[in-house]
């Protein structure tokens, strides 16, 4: 396993991870596309992250459980941003940047945050309970959903499993050769 890690282009863990909360590939549905503004007024699309593993976190500044999870996500961003991973926060604060910017500054949030809206929340199943967090694989599919405060281990294991899936799934013919797409 170590020899394989040395010649791969991305860093890899010495252990193979299978997170309990991550769906099998055939059960993952595409994550809905959105266009939301970040703190600099730039429009952010989910498709901008194609090829990366994304942790999409719906949160609010008045949400206690969200404040517990956000430092975990900051750590995940620090540890994995060079492995094709990104955290994207979606604030559901009605007051917008007026309250969100100071909140992000106070916590030292090191990842991109956009302001969400009811339409986007609706596309993601009607996000009402916060935090609601989605793990999205490199193909833009929802691999896991956590509603409410989850465990740090659920996130770290889920992220690691999705990061380790660097090669697309290969379907073999009966003769053992890869099927042409």
């Amino acid at each position: 396993m170590l020899a394989v890690c040395l010649i791969q282009t991305q860093a890899c863990s010495s252990r193979s991870v299978k997170a309990a909360t991550v769906k099998a590939e055939q059960d993952r549905k595409p994550a809905p596309e959105f266009a939301l503004k970040d703190a600099d007024g730039k429009t952010v699309h989910l498709s901008d992250y194609k090829g990366k593993v994304v942790l999409l976190d719906f949160f609010a500044t008045w949400c206690g459980p969200c404040k517990i999870e956000i430092p975990w996500f900051m750590e995940a961003e620090r540890r994995n941003k060079d492995r094709g991973f990104a955290v994207l926060g979606v604030s559901m604060d009605d007051e917008g940047w007026e309250v969100v910017k100071p909140f992000l500054a106070e916590l030292g949030v090191n990842y991109r945050v956009v302001i969400g809206n009811d339409a986007t929340a609706g596309m993601y199943g009607g996000v009402d309970a916060l935090p609601t967090t989605f793990l999205i694989d490199r193909e833009g599919r929802i691999a896991a959903v956590h509603v409410g405060l989850a465990s740090k281990k659920d996130f770290t294991d889920g992220i690691e499993q999705l990061l380790q899936n660097t090669a697309p799934a290969v379907t073999l013919n009966n003769d053992g050769r890869p099927r042409a797409e």
Binding site: W62, G64, P65, I68, D128, A129, L130, P131, L149
Partner: protein, 116 residues
């Protein structure tokens, strides 16, 4: 005069009290929008509970749970005409369970009265 306004929080949930433990928490708050022939006075909230939750990082937070009453005081205006009326207000709250929080909501409150 005083009137009780009953509030009922579903089991498994709580709302922040009117004096939350942290600045970022949204308090329970009753405000009057129109009181007709009455003049709205103070609102008395019950004594809150201090409870720990999975997300409170070991610290107790100031909340209301279960059934409780808000006590609203009114004065009859000096030139109030006799007859019925309604004092209308808004109750703002923000609820959580042990693991998740829900958007703040505002509901209508109405108190019918009769000036004699």
């Amino acid at each position: 005069m005083q009137t009780k306004i009953p509030v009922s929080i579903r089991e498994g949930y709580h709302v922040n009290s009117n004096t939350p433990s942290e600045e970022y928490l949204i308090p329970l708050k009753l405000t009057w929008t129109s009181t007709g022939a009455l003049e709205g006075g103070a609102v008395v909230y019950p004594k809150p509970a201090l409870e720990k939750f999975d997300f409170s990082d070991g610290k107790p937070i100031s909340v209301f749970m279960g059934n409780f009453d808000l006590v609203a005081s009114f004065k009859v205006a000096a030139n109030a005409p006799a007859g019925p009326g309604i004092a209308a207000g808004k109750l703002r709250y923000q609820a959580c369970s042990n693991k998740a929080c829900y958007p703040p909501k505002t509901i209508d409150v109405s108190v019918p009265y009769q000036v004699q």
